[in-house]
Symmetry: C2
Subunit: 326 residues, 2 copies
């Protein structure tokens, strides 16, 4: 049989929904039983070398098909080609082909519900609960992750150093961008259910009963989708700081608090209110509209809009993150 390569495209589509950052997820149906998968996945599909002129066009087509949803901003994330972590065959439906996944990041201001079945918006915190530091250092980090990671590392100094740096143990500073590094460590340590699954599949045996893991380790996803999601979140967190991408997630008019909430929801850290305002105003990226928001409580807030013009005028950087000390 002629072994070949199949390219799978997956999308991390991010939006804001009442103050929370959410990703578009699907529950694909099993080829035999037609039951929807118990695990969530990202919208995905095979790339057709005949029909599709570029990856990006193919991407947009899939997402619209599967989710009845039109993508706005799109960028390529990474291409994964490791053996043993490819998408299950059934999902792509091509004989004995090796699957290579190209991940994409999409941002949209409208988290509209779709009629498409088994499609919905899920907060990313479900998949990476340890990444949310908005209420301070998450307790589950020290209670669940750290002990297991330390047990895995044993006396291996290299592993210990990686754990400390990635997960901010022993006084190391939290770096919110290293989402992928952290997920990969958990995977390597066998603390992601995906790891056991991939291993048993590559050995050709029946799937192991996955070790019972606390919800602290996050909800697993289909195939290598959690890895792609980690890549997307990390990229987005980095990009926030040097490109005005938050605005792609905001409606046309928004308050500064809503903007701050959005940045916090993505970056997963609490920000200093006054200093955040200053940062935003100094950059000239927004413009007050003079009008005010109908309130939820407290003094009404002024509405602002993103000054799209800046994009065509100067290189426009993003927003620095003025952290709020605990």
């Amino acid at each position: 049989m002629n072994s070949s390569v199949v390219i799978g495209l997956s999308a991390v589509v991010v939006a804001m929904r009442d103050g929370e950052a959410v990703v578009l997820t699907v529950r694909p149906h099993d080829a035999r039983t037609h039951a929807p998968s118990t695990l969530a996945g990202l919208p995905f599909g095979p790339f057709d070398p005949e029909g599709h002129r570029t990856f990006e066009l193919a991407m947009r087509e899939f997402v619209t098909q599967q989710t009845a949803f039109d993508l706005g901003y799109v960028e390529q994330l990474y291409t994964f080609g490791d053996k043993g972590r490819d998408a299950p065959r059934a999902e792509v439906g091509a004989g004995a082909a090796r699957v290579v996944s190209v991940g994409y990041l999409g941002l949209t201001p409208t988290a509209v519900d779709t009629d498409a079945p088994d499609t919905g918006w899920t907060p990313w915190t479900r998949f990476f609960p340890w990444e949310d530091w908005r209420q301070g250092r998450p307790a589950l980090l020290d209670d669940y992750l750290a002990p297991e990671l330390r047990a895995w590392a044993g006396k291996d100094e290299d592993r210990l150093a990686r754990i400390r740096l990635s997960f901010a143990l022993d006084g190391a500073r939290w770096n919110e961008e290293r989402v992928l590094e952290r997920y990969e460590l958990l995977y390597e340590a066998g603390l992601a259910p995906e790891a056991a699954r991939d291993l048993s599949r590559s050995l050709g045996g029946e799937p192991d009963e996955p070790r019972a893991l606390s919800p602290a380790f996050g909800e697993p996803m289909i195939s290598d989708h959690r890895r792609i999601l980690a890549t997307g979140l990390g990229r987005l967190r980095g990009k926030l700081k040097y490109r005005p991408v938050v605005f792609l997630l905001m409606p046309n008019e928004f308050t500064l608090s809503a903007l701050q909430k959005a940045v916090e929801a993505i970056a997963g850290v609490p920000l200093h209110k006054q200093n955040f305002r200053r940062v935003v105003e100094r950059t000239d990226l927004v413009e007050g509209l003079g009008r005010q928001d109908v309130e939820t409580g407290g003094r009404p807030a002024e509405l602002f809009r993103f000054r799209r013009e800046v994009l065509t005028q100067r290189p426009a950087s993003g927003l620095s993150l003025p952290l709020l000390r605990e």
Copy 2:
């Protein structure tokens, strides 16, 4: 015939050689005539879905095979899949397959000559002369590129804005990171010989006699290799600022001037000597060795080494670029 996908891997391998930044290039032989190509290319090869476990391992194997050279640091750049810009079939040797190229960036401190035939180190300035602002704004920008680009844009305001921003026309500030954007604009405008070649190939005709272009437009490369190179240079320029990657290009011991020369050669901009020193010293990334360099002229300089330790201790950012005003 069963149309399929072939994955091509290409490497942008960068090193320093007497103060210049150089990339590893090959001149592949024609399948029929066996004559080496007149155009330079990057080291590349097809990915074997059977034999290779990961892209990165495959990469390292190719580069070593083709150039008798071992890679150090490696990172993935981007995956290109556009129809019409794939590698010519002969190069990869697979029937009617669609070629997708995965580009990689490699950094090495030793620009050793290899015995491998038709392999060598080429300064990147040959391919992107407009990217070198070390001697001030390059004259060829205003003399050759700008007029042609403006002619192409005509009255199209969107194109004009892109040109102005990318190429720093009409008072816009030069942003050294946007290497790919600039190359893509030149390609789109038909000012890269590759564009005419790709167009004639996709129309199935005989290759057009490429329009005679001044050397100001840079030396073309095989396939989409100049695009991959542009991606690599842009990525490296960005990375300089937030990761200590320059040190991967330096020998174990170096002077601060040599370090500055290296940063300047990569970033393509002149830096302010005193302020550069301050930046380097403040970051604690280097350590004086007390010993001095045997000189080429002038006062001997102290030798420094990169403090590798920092990498395992804290997140370690790169070096800011204290620009030297003209």
